[in-house]
Point group: D2
Chain length 318, copies 4
Amino acid sequence: MTDRATPSDTYSYLGPAGTFTEAALKLVEAAAGKPWRSVNNVGEALDDVVTGRSVGAVIAIENSVDGGVSATQDALARIPGVRIVGEYLVPVDFVLVARHGTALSDVRTVNAHPVAYAQTHGWLEANVPGHGHIPASSNVAAATALLDEHPVADAAVAPPGITDHHDLAVLASSIGDNASAVTRFVLVSRTLAIPERTGADKTSVIVELPSEHPGALVDMLEQFATRGINMGLLSSRPIGDELGRYRFVIDLDGHVHDERVADALLGLRRFSPRVTFLGSYPRADGFRPEVSARYSDEAFVEARDWLRAIVSGETDAG
Amino acid sequence: MTDRATPSDTYSYLGPAGTFTEAALKLVEAAAGKPWRSVNNVGEALDDVVTGRSVGAVIAIENSVDGGVSATQDALARIPGVRIVGEYLVPVDFVLVARHGTALSDVRTVNAHPVAYAQTHGWLEANVPGHGHIPASSNVAAATALLDEHPVADAAVAPPGITDHHDLAVLASSIGDNASAVTRFVLVSRTLAIPERTGADKTSVIVELPSEHPGALVDMLEQFATRGINMGLLSSRPIGDELGRYRFVIDLDGHVHDERVADALLGLRRFSPRVTFLGSYPRADGFRPEVSARYSDEAFVEARDWLRAIVSGETDAG
Amino acid sequence: MTDRATPSDTYSYLGPAGTFTEAALKLVEAAAGKPWRSVNNVGEALDDVVTGRSVGAVIAIENSVDGGVSATQDALARIPGVRIVGEYLVPVDFVLVARHGTALSDVRTVNAHPVAYAQTHGWLEANVPGHGHIPASSNVAAATALLDEHPVADAAVAPPGITDHHDLAVLASSIGDNASAVTRFVLVSRTLAIPERTGADKTSVIVELPSEHPGALVDMLEQFATRGINMGLLSSRPIGDELGRYRFVIDLDGHVHDERVADALLGLRRFSPRVTFLGSYPRADGFRPEVSARYSDEAFVEARDWLRAIVSGETDAG
Amino acid sequence: MTDRATPSDTYSYLGPAGTFTEAALKLVEAAAGKPWRSVNNVGEALDDVVTGRSVGAVIAIENSVDGGVSATQDALARIPGVRIVGEYLVPVDFVLVARHGTALSDVRTVNAHPVAYAQTHGWLEANVPGHGHIPASSNVAAATALLDEHPVADAAVAPPGITDHHDLAVLASSIGDNASAVTRFVLVSRTLAIPERTGADKTSVIVELPSEHPGALVDMLEQFATRGINMGLLSSRPIGDELGRYRFVIDLDGHVHDERVADALLGLRRFSPRVTFLGSYPRADGFRPEVSARYSDEAFVEARDWLRAIVSGETDAG
């Protein structure tokens, strides 16, 4: 689409170094040894991909505690020309850091990204009672701000690797309220080639409902249910023009090369005024759904052969 | 399939001459001027078609008062290799006939085919109170038996044209309890060529449910509902091996050349252990269902094009 | 309803003595030692019940080979004020009988009730090739007619017990084409008291669809599916006013005293322009459906208690 | 729950004075002339209500551009004992403010609450290219921070009324990207009395799905669809224990005193391992849904009367 002389091999991520997004990017095999570009927000990351400044970008799409990442979901709905080609899970773990010499009992104000704050709120309430919260733009920014001349807070919530990059003291470790918290990241790219089917795949789409009437959503979801397709994420996002109008961001079990998924996408497309195919890609958790014989590729192929023979008049196989 | 030297041009029908089935056969344009063969029952008619003795057979499939004709439905389920290629409606009207010299007040016993008897029962109760009923094997047989040496009945219920063929007196006309009663006949053939789509078509199938669980029938019918396809007839027939196991004889609005119908048949085939395609053919009543844009051929073609472009990597049309 | 001085204790059945219906009546405990009244058809039997001439009537409602008995289904839809209070299964078995001195090889014509003929057709084709069929009004009438001065047939298909009542020779036994064939009978009564719930019950209803649109039938059946209720019989019968309009005769697993069945009936009633409750009664086969916790009486009661507390403001149990 | 001698008449809201939440509170008639308490976050507001410190609290629940407010939805799921009793809509409009003497061309960094930033991002990109964003904890805090000794930003995104309270200069007005943007607030209370039905009502619930299988969500939504109930909001929120487990925050058209809504809640309760009733309350937009006769109160009452008569044996109304 752009006629760049030299295709980029750069990967964009929400920086700076030390963020969970960087940790996710470390899981992307193809990105090893390539230039990494730290950006400030999801829009910028997708923009890098669309313009060809980067070959891929890693962005957070869902958190097991905080839910769908609205900014990512809305950006994917708004920005055409990008595809999800991979999925990565990063456990969410936090430390409380401060300048050297600060004791936990000295802490009055805590700097933290709102999502990180939400995930450590229980610990902070219990261990830093009466603290004030200063919101930061990223987990790393919260920590580095402690080193400012006039720091706005006494301590910061940060990812565990923060002390690799910055000279800070760890006041407490593993302060997340949910030990199994995890964030799901996706790798987006401009390529149109769809990753190979592995048997443990996801397909992501964004769908608008045709109109508001009782049952429109049920009708849409039946496109999956009647083909034995489970949904992971179902997230409603406002279309934005008025209250009460939503689009749905949906993760399906399966790959567009699976007959049942392709058939469901056809059904969606006929049903909805707008369907955005975000991609089919290997699942990070490797889960392989059991598919009943009724929804297997063979069942679809066999049915097509049966019907083709009837329509062509080759058989009395009625 | 059979290697007959000379293909038959004969049409079979449930005789004898004068039956409603003969009246239906008179509506079959292709049968005009061809030999007609009177048979004794539906099985024999279908047998004529299967063996090639006849090129077509007209059989009653449904009556507006008496419902689906079980014998026909079961024969179509049992006998492979026949297709429905046309549909014909014949108004059902009856006369009460007797030997000359018999008055209505003389009638004590009435000979009538059970279906005809059911459709004139109200009139007979009112006008021949206390009469006995002798069942006949056909409407015409009931009448002709009056001319036997030792007739088993005093009068017979018969089609209006009976006096064209037999020397009988009409005691009363239009004795049917329902003035708008009509019987639906189908023309069956061994040909595999499907009649052209006219826009006012029906498709008939026989479907077995996959297993007995709450909702299996709903799942099956949703194959039609989710594609905007109306059903005419839905008739359950016992499979016969045990109580509670049924197959369903179903008439759909539309033609197998309609995308939505073809897609529904694919869904049925994947769902059901056994689907029999009985045929797509022009409706006798000429009714053209309105099809919403969502279920039009264009919607199916457009969706396929959209998906094909995605899968082939030609487009970012996601 | 009628002010008879002495309530009847008579039971009506489709006679004469020796029919399968009589065999079914023998299974009715309450009828032992009471007067039995032989009638000529289902309408007469129901009429006996409605007028109080009989306290109950046994009528065939379904055959495992031939399907729903249309006459019964239509009579139950037409005649108000009767309830099904019991169900009885009678194995269907046939003998071929003739006058003494007749050999099987002598038989040219066979007298048989059409349903009996359908169920022995295979045997007759194989063992009496080329025979003619004379339809009879009942299985017993077919046999007794052999003793007429001028018999219309050489042999008759009859129930096994026929020789207890009539002096006939058995030419062949167990001539039914399906060894496990069975006919289902119901006991109808005018009583409004509903038989006690046993845990192995059926509920029968007749339902009309609200209007013809794609999915109306699905909507109706979902009343059962969404409450975990399995259907036995689903039989469509023409309403009779025009082709394509049907009512449905439905047997449900469960008793109206089961919460899930009562709730489904409420849903039906709101949905349908006409619902006829035919009765809840013990199943003949004693089958007890497994009911998931979600559809148990407890689940319904608990949900009602929960909602009542909310609506009354007693609880924050929201 | 608390045994306070004097019930509070205070209302809590997300402050400080000048926020959109305060604007919503101004719409609450009952709060006029009562003490208002400014709090720092949704949890604190609900806590005020639960402990009885306040009689009510106004909290944002949804924004037409940014979607459901996760913090509110999660707090309502987590904190028992509160009910939604009112709904209020506040148009979202923003100004860009700065210290006196600052020109638009001087602005390099903009302080803004993340949601406000998202809603003015387009304008800022176009008019303050290359600006940096400093996240603030509230729209008002962003503005007041400009008056700090060492302000962290050159300008702030704030509500229009900000200059009533603070001595700041307006650099630009109506900078929201969507002129019709609106935020929906709810009034929560500890009272268990349900606001009267007005005919233009909403009911809010939080529902967990019983288990993950294809179609569980469809089954849940059919509880509404089969009763003709439209949904406004459907928002999925992670339960938090692991990826892929969600609860759903749902707004229904109608009041729990509407029979169809009560019946749907019963269905939900039987279906779901956990249903939280958040309340029925008048809609802010006054919209009165049309209810088809099939789902009217009369239909429910009539059906119950019908069934009661059957079960009690009073009628043959079957």
